[in-house]
Amino acid sequence: MPLFLIAQIAGRTVAIESSHVESVVDIGAIVPVPRSERHVRGLAALRSRVVTVIETKTALGLPEGDGTAMRAVITIVDGHHYAMLVDALEDVAAFDLSPLSAGIMLDNGWHRVGRGIIERDGEPILVIELGALIPAVAAAA
């Protein structure tokens, strides 16, 4: 059974497959990146590494957060490190992944990232893929 990280984003409980999670950190000072997309909060230093901080709520098309979320899940996409801001982290546990039930339509940005469902004590939790929140941008030539 794969391991999942259970987190809170915009008041919703979500599950993230742990193989996509490099680490879980508290982000320090964020340096903004002027003129970048709205969901790019900026750059932060994690030890000697610079990570791009993504405002997960904005990326999901949800109302913007108050900017206080400082806890983040680090994920690596195409060799770059991203810190995806989350409201809270709850748990890491093994679950069975089952597909989204037929007929369930996710709205907002959720449909882009929704990958399935796990069940925790009878409560269904949406499994999301963090990488899908980072739109593929053709590398600048």
Partner: protein, 763 residues
Amino acid sequence: MDDLLQEFIAETRETLEALSGEIVAWESAPADRERLDAIFRFVHTVKGSCGFLDLPRLARLSHAAEDVLAAVRSGERTPDTRLVNAVLAIVDRVGEIVEAIDAGHALDDTGEDLLISALDAGSEAIVTSVAPVMRAPTRSVRLNVDLLDRMMSGMSDMVLARNELARRLRDEGVDPTIEAALERLSLTVAEMRDTVTRTRMQKIEALFSALPRMVRDTAAELGKSVTLHIEGSDVELDREMIEMMRDPLVHLIRNSIDHGLEGPAGRRSAGKRDSGWLSVSARQSGNQIVIEIADDGRGIDTGRLREKVLAVGLRSESALRAMSEQALLNMVFEPGLSTKEVVTGISGRGVGMDVVRANVEQIGGRIELANTPGKGLRISIHVPLTLSIMATIGVGVRDQRFAISRQTIEEIVRVGAGSIRIDQLGDTLMATVRDRRMPLVDLGDLLGFGRREPAMLVIVGASGGSYALAVDTVLDHEELVIKPAAPLVMATNIYAGQTLPDSGLPMLMLDCAGIAQLAGLVFTREIVPEDDAEPSAPGVQALLFDDLDGVRRIVPLSVIDRVEPVPVGAIRHAAGRLRLSVDGAIIPLVALGMWEGKASVSVLRLRDGSVELGYAIGEALDIVELPDTLVPAHDSGPIAGVVSIDGEQIEVIDLHWLFSTHADPNAAADAPLCLLEGADTAWLTTFLRPVLEAAGYRVTTALRPGEVAGVIVTMDGDAASPAHAAPVVRLRRDAEGSAVDGSIFRYDRPGLLAALAKSAGGR
């Protein structure tokens, strides 16, 4: 050259190891095109490298094997077991010779003719037995890049941890012994970081330094004369990239000389100078390094290229007709195509270019051709900046800092200085800096912080023109490790990369070309002037500054190594003069005013080529052109005279006086070498050495290989070893002794120095 040879050996060895699998596979399936190509590329590369490393035996073997393989590739010969064996025997032999070169022992060359003749059709099959090869131990190792990366990031972590520790200790106000220990730690960490960084980075000089020799030899072989221009040797590049760029560069340059540049007769009839012009340059542009190879030869004949493509059957006639000129040009990168009929030892088998493109694309780069038929060809290789250390200037906009590559900065001026004006044309801002008009981009506005009165202008050059970038503050100069930012960030086109300076806060590096584009600036690319045209002699650029005593003075820019603020704690009156400790060394410092009351002063670090000198100033103001007319000073001293700039009298620093009066004479590396010899070297080193060093000699007690003593000092009674041809100065212990034997009393300082000076050829 030794480095190159070592690298060639390591590379050949590595390829051979990788190739051994291919060879076995080819043996069992000689018709396999892919295996054939791999082996072909190997011998071709060996041939290319041998040419400029001057290894004729290897060149002969590889050339022979290449001929046969080319015949197989074109279908003229079929690869039967005999041919395969013969080629493999040569590949083995190449391996043996390479090992022999490395070990430094000779290898019998009998049988090589046999190996080569075995390649001919219809020759006897040969059987070779490979003798076990002895490998010489080497003083170099090849490391996995991942390991170096881990080392680098560990190092950065260490620097950050050190910084935090230092911050905490400062806050607590700890006792000086702990601070001293921390200081020592800091020094070690800084040194380590330099070393570790150097393991990864290399100046492109490593690539360029072999070019003059290679170009000369290649040109001589072809009976051509070529003038080579090399530019940008100090651009730093990832070692990995440098390795990957070596073959493509060599191929392209050989191609240029062989196919591009005409012979002297051809050039004369085309109305060109006899000597061909070849330029190789490297520069950093945005988030790329661009390596350009340009010649003034005949360029690519697209008509012939078209015929050739048709003849080889790479494209149909209709497809060719639909092709743009540029697309047709790019056909030269197709495998199996060459517009030159004659195959020479230099190039021209049509492998070069496809291998070149494959190599460049492998590291994420691309190649562009700019062809002017009859006039020349310009090949630009763009390679991404995966990681590089760049000299940057920090600029501040509101409360955010950015880095700008120093290479793109032409100058930095403060708004408000007399020669600067800013005007508004319509809604567009324009700056005039000393009669030079240029567009102005308000960085704050561009980044969405809103407009503000410009305070500082950074004048940057970008793709064919210059513009002024208005920023709030100009901070410091820093060497930074720049890495590419995430695609989301790069997509803005404003940034060239990201970095983590010692402050621990990430910083973005600006892409000045991207900013120009974003701001809608269009520069018409200047036509490269005919190289016959002498550039008009530019005036001497000089730095205008307020000195410590409040007087405005000026000093030529060319002698200034850098300007940097130093804490006054680093300045001391020591050993009879004012000295500055900086970067682990002590250099003489000149101050024409009071510095004691300040927390820090700006210091100009002046350099006359070999000797360094510090000059403390109040504030650097501007860079201006030094007027030609100088009214000489009344007395000799630190001021050479006075010039008039905008009607103001400005004192000009007398560099000659400054260096002759203040510089440490012993800093020069070409000082005569003085050898202390004999039984009493203890007295000589303890008592005499400082005197000699102060007088400008380099002193040693034992010559290293290659060193030649200018003069030998020995005590009376010791026989100077006859091995040295240098003059000998003998010292005696008694003040009263006779001067008949030419010896000098050892405490007779003036006499001693005079004798030394006479012997060492005067100093």
